[in-house]
């Protein structure tokens, strides 16, 4: 995980050229023990802290969308004026603290499987996501 060659392989095998911008963003997103949630703005800040070579905003958007398309990131549906992304791509649900605007994983073991006993003809289920909004008690 500490070696860039891992990301280079991963990118190449996804059909994405391993540019230095993409490798840097991989390091920031995936070179951590814990997964995390972020907005584009969060990521831009992390990048500027992590490097002197700046990456253009357009590239940050392009890269996040490319990674999402490849399944390396998930987008979390919260009602907000900006998109939230998640480096945790496994199946799980979320708490959203509207006071602190903080998004937190709920361990999947702590949620009973959600059963939907109806279907829409001609449509298949793509995802089932639970959002638990919390506020100060």
């Amino acid at each position: 995980m500490l070696n860039n060659s891992h990301y280079i392989d991963k990118l190449r095998s996804s059909g994405l050229r391993p540019t230095k911008q993409r490798i840097k963003i991989c390091e920031i997103l995936f070179n951590t023990e814990k997964t995390f949630h972020f907005t584009i703005n969060d990521l831009v800040k992390k990048i500027s802290k992590a490097t002197n070579d700046k990456i253009s905003l357009a590239t940050v958007y392009n890269t996040v969308h490319a990674f999402k398309k490849k399944g390396y990131l998930k987008e979390i549906p919260i009602n907000s004026d900006q998109s939230y992304f998640d480096t945790n791509t496994s199946h799980h649900h979320h708490f959203y603290d509207e006071n602190q605007k903080d998004l937190m994983d709920i361990d999947d073991a702590d949620v009973e499987p959600v059963k939907i006993n109806t279907r829409i003809p001609g449509k298949k289920i793509k995802s089932v996501e639970v959002l638990v909004k919390v506020e100060d008690a």
Copy 2:
């Protein structure tokens, strides 16, 4: 329900002055058998079909926010480029068709109660919402 005096009372008792703009919007939102989902743009179109006196966009936004704050509307969390509102303020979950960008209620009888077996200290649960994304089968 066909009488405006009902809305006038409702608005007054909520501390909102019953202006003709608000009454018209009440008629459009609440004078129906079925509840429905809408975006601001949808509502603007409904208004211009329903009346010759135009209502400014700012007033539409102001009114929807005021009604949401009073609990007469819910905002549905979807990652989209626009906000979705719901005249159905009872507890229920949603299908979202990403192809047609169509939001549909799931009858609450068709969803097993969602059990969250963990809490965040100092926080209380405000809502639990399930979003089922569907796509063409």
